[in-house]
Amino acid sequence: MDQFSPATKLASPAIIKTRRLRVLGTAVTLLDQVKETAETDLGFGLDFEVLDFVPCQGKAALNPNTYDVYDQCFHNLDIVWFWGSLQPIDTQRISAWDKVSDLTKRGGISRYAWRGYGDAPVKKLYVQQSDQLGSEQGRYISMLPTVYNLDSFGYDARIFGYTQRNAESWSWLLDPRAKGRIALVDEPAIGIFDAALAAEAAGEMNFADIGNMSVAEIDQLMAILDDRRRKGFFHTMWRTAEDASQLVRNHKVAVQSMWSAAYGNLGGEAPHFLESVPLEGYRAWHGGMSLRRGLDGAALDMAYEYMNWWLDGWAGAVMARQGYYFSVTDPVEAALTKDEWAYWYRGEEAQSDLPGVQGQTVVKLGGRRSGGAQLDRANRIAVWNTVMDEHNYAARSWTRFVDRVRNDAP
């Protein structure tokens, strides 16, 4: 590279300081603490650009020269990969590749685990011939698997009762007991599945393949949702975990889509607002990191260093304190305290108050993670967040629905 040529060598200390890696992603993973620690550990600077899911995908596909590493979810990889914006990752340069969970490498934590409908990461993981993505194992991958979770909905047990603990149903998201106090997550590749699981569990419709809905099924689902909307079932739609927490703290919802991180911030409502363990199974998602096409030389080396750093355990421990699991677990176990590991991954009773990302207590002594151990939860995947074939059609219908909820349209 040019910085090693004699003419620039004199100024080398300044150049080293300005070595920077640009990371585009969402608030799920791009936290300030992660940035600070990574910069210290790696010795180069990081520029985190944090966007909402949808604009983040758009930028990754259409402006690939604005970032080096793309930190997002497998389910929107389709768009960015086939737009030609990314390059394959060489697994031989990922030191912990052998330790990465079978959940992504093979599609499930065991042969008997539910595979789930939709785009399980394994279907998009390996770069196949002709630059296609598929599940046939190979040396090159499209995205390095990192953080993931099994999502469900949250509910007010004072309304729905405490008796159905661990046998809740997605149908509650359309339940008349919560009329006027229901909220869904506003992201068409996520919220639509919460709604679809609800409609199917309520016996109001059946999908041939809930992970790849037809136009007619999307129409039917949106008609069911719009009917409920007209009857006043929905309070609002939310976009961030903090918005979701706030709706609970302000007594606005009795049941809603929830993300794990939102449960740590429910204040006085925490004892009553419970994370469900749906009979029908979880809606799963998996995050990861990809490399921009054209990234090469020293910048590419930095990107690999950064990705390897993520698998070292420290970052995985930070993710665990938000309730997210990680693709490589041994180093995460080493980085967490014994109590933290027992609570977050093993589903055991908290032996002490446990801190969240900012150090505040998010789990009280004696608390127990809903759904139990990581392995129990990951066994029961109903559907993966997916950008379906009819995503354009679904996203447009969804946006119209969300607008009507927000504008309280007739």
């Binding site: 259409l62 737009w83 630059d131 950008v387």
Partner: protein
């Protein structure tokens, strides 16, 4: 051709009949083919036909001179230039008379705009806006719309509005499935009609990275024109063109949004042309089928970008998005 002429003589007939009825063309007025054709901006044949019909209806009659006279009792023939009479010609008929063929001049740009909009959802075409935008009459607009409808790009909804789109994944998938059946078959049919010297020249230019072969679209067009369209089956070729239309337009719309060049697809086309150049048509047909299957998957994935981009980039004033 025949249909156009028929319509035209009907129009001439209508104008004459209406003006006779109102008395602007008085009984005894001498009707000559030449001046009428001139007035109506028509050839003589439709005028002849119109006069024969009017004669059969008893509205005009022959007389001992050249041409016809407006029927009436015992009037002397009135010889006057019909162009000086200020005949009443309704706007619609006037438009129609003056605009035969006009629609063809504006059709392509409308087709492109409509076809590229399909991926962005469902649109209503506002006929008056289309007329204003193109600076043409309602008749021309109607001709354009009926052609779009014939090509399967638009349809009428229950309120009789013209609707375009949306192009769904299902439609894309089905169109590619049809293509991978028809195009390899057409290629085989075309085998003996292909100009292999032309293909050799094309391969040479493509391998030199000539500017006319810079993108997949260039290769696709070349494949269509130099090979597939040589198949001796007009219906087959027309079906293939109609099937391709919305997906090709969608692809062009994606390129406008910044879809980068697909080097792998370009390489596939080079291999395909190399097979055709060597007259290995059977393997070429199989290769084409496989290429189309890969392209189908890529297209489905690429189209998903549309959900995350601003839609107004390709907007034209006569297309109103339906919410």
């Amino acid at each position: 051709m025949k249909q156009t002429m028929q319509k035209r003589y009907e129009l001439v007939c209508d104008v004459l009949r209406a003006n006779i009825k109102t008395g602007r063309l008085p009984p005894g007025f001498v009707l000559l083919e030449g001046p009428i054709a001139d007035l109506m901006q028509s050839s003589r044949a439709p005028v002849q036909m119109a006069l024969k019909i009017l004669e059969a209806d008893g509205v005009v009659q022959r007389f001992p001179g050249r041409g016809f006279v407006v029927a009436g009792t015992g009037e002397e023939p009135v010889r006057q230039d019909i162009r000086a009479l200020d005949l009443h010609i309704s706007d619609e008929i006037d438009d129609a008379l003056q605009s035969r063929g006009m629609w063809e001049l504006v059709y392509d740009q409308v087709e492109e705009a409509v076809a590229s909009s399909l991926i962005f959802g469902e649109f209503r075409i506002i006929e008056t806006e289309l007329g204003t935008h193109l600076g043409v009459s309602r008749t021309v607009v109607r001709d354009v719309l009926s052609r779009l409808s014939e090509r399967g790009l638009i349809r009428k909804n229950q309120s009789s509005h013209w609707i375009a789109g949306p192009l769904t994944a299902q439609s894309v998938r089905e169109r590619f499935a049809i293509r991978s059946i028809l195009e390899p078959a057409a290629l085989k049919l075309a085998a003996s009609a292909i100009d292999y010297a032309e293909i050799a020249q094309l391969c040479k230019r493509a391998n030199e990275n000539a500017p006319e072969f810079s993108d997949t679209e260039d290769f696709e067009l070349a494949l269509m024109e130099t090979c597939i369209a040589k198949a001796p089956n007009v219906e087959l070729i027309s079906t293939i063109r109609n099937i391709q239309l919305p997906i090709n337009a969608a692809n062009r719309a994606l390129i406008k949004l910044g879809l980068p060049r697909d080097q792998i697809a370009v390489d596939e086309y080079r291999s395909l042309f190399a097979l055709i150049e060597r007259r290995l048509i059977d393997p070429a047909a199989d290769y084409l089928e496989n290429h189309l299957k890969i392209l189908a998957q890529k297209s489905l994935a690429r189209l998903k970008i549309v959900a995350v981009v601003v839609e107004s980039k390709l907007a034209v004033p006569y297309l109103t998005q339906l919410r």
